[in-house]
Amino acid sequence: MKHINPSKSLLFLAVILAIIPYFMSNDFYYEIAIVALFNAMIVVGLNLLMGYAGQISLAHGAFAGLGGYISAVLVSNYGLPPLVAIAVALVFMAIFAYIISKPILKLSGHYLAMATLGIGIIINIILDSEEELTGGADGMSVESLVLFGWEPSQSWHWYLLASLLLLLTLWLMENLIDSPLGRILRSIHDSEKASGSVGVDVSHYKSIVFVISVTIATVAGSLYAFFSGFISPQEASFNHSIELVVMVVLGGMGRLYGAVIGAAILTALPQLLTSFEEYQTLIYGAIIIVIMIFMPKGVVSLFDGIGKRSRDAQS
């Protein structure tokens, strides 16, 4: 069912990411692109959970936000080097994800959605109310990132960093999906009974995919905090979580590169629509409805035909 050779897709994306800067006339565009790249990373991880393993999470915005906050607090309040702070955030979030995955992934469907929704809102409330640590609703400023003595200061530095990280994430996920582990995740999506009957410990693998997914969100959330130099509970809001889920569905559930397309569209769309002011939400909603009606398999399915045709031409 692979319509496009995976590594070709990766190369294609790399080329596109390399070309984009030539069309960037100012920092504002860079900023949108970088936000889209970080969102894409989170969405790739969320898609692994939703599209491949078939488990929904309405808390990924909150996970990314919490990860970002941990990194930010460790750097700004405790003076840890950024890389160490991110590593601590990663370990903490991985353990946190593992612990909460055990009870909540016993649920499925709407119940799982409700449970993750609750967790997301709780995280948001905690970030909002722990004013001494997090600065409360006003957010907090984050010191700049220093990686082995290099400080990404220009917009294109960040663009490069985010692009490389996204490509790396995609490459790792391509490998994972195309492996026994990936097969197990997809089988859980299709039939937990079938997976169990051939010896798959379903609950164990659900936890693993949840941890991977939250870990990716933590990396993206942390780096985003350093990039913007500021973090507020807004990053961990329910709206952000929903936005991420919509990106997965819009791009294409269970399609790795759909995540990138979904993130790009949904990050850029509100910016493009600012000139319509009061009609913004209306147009935004209409576009999403139209896409979902005419491309129920996600925007990425547009590319299926192209891949097929070029392959037919070769043979």
Binding site: N175, S179, S187, A194, S197, V198
Partner: protein, 253 residues
Amino acid sequence: MLKAENLTKRFGGVTAVDDFSFRVKKGTIHAIIGPNGAGKTTLVNMLTGVYRCDEGTVWLDGADVTNTATDQLVYRGVCRTFQHLEVCGNMTALENILLGFDRYMSKNLIQVCFRSKRIREDEARYTQRAMHLLSLIGIEQHAHTLAKNLSYGILKKLEIIRALATSPSLILLDEPVAGLNPKETAEVADLIRTVTKDEVTVILIEHDMRMVMELSDHITVMNFGKRLAEGTPQEIKANPEVIRAYLGSGSFE
């Protein structure tokens, strides 16, 4: 091989399986038959840890495996299929079989993410073996077809060979020919006979009497959750109680 003692399962006021005991000899095909609602599927679900037994013990080669989860039983050489198809529809036929082999493959996260040599070797080796299994049911040409696009008859067989991929020593088949036409039924019977060849013990739950009588070495008859009779196909055919409760006259024409 397998010994079940005094198994009991109650659903509210209904006792689906009532103080049921039986033993399965190694290398035999042991059929469990009975009217609808006799508790056959409940029994399989109890043996494979899907339902908790209210009472009773399941022994496997002398070890107590009562209430052991289905996925854990696979590592003890017990595998099952389902009355209602449980095939992964959005995966290809080949992937469904490879799923059965996954217990032998490395799933180490680092190796998986970097697609190590071990992963590639495993994949190549087990793909070959999976293709061999597919050739047993004659659908190599459909290896890369999504399972949801294959016919019901093929999927029933696919489920059996997926179970075989886990190399079980005991396999529980819950109505493997339900809904199949006579030709497909004969194919499944052949499949069961060839692949098990005295090496794999089979517990067969089935309604198709012709197949049960042809295939099985030993038959246990269930009725209302209790054991009604036990014996060889000849003995069962001649048992007046069985005929009254279940078979009726003229079942074997």
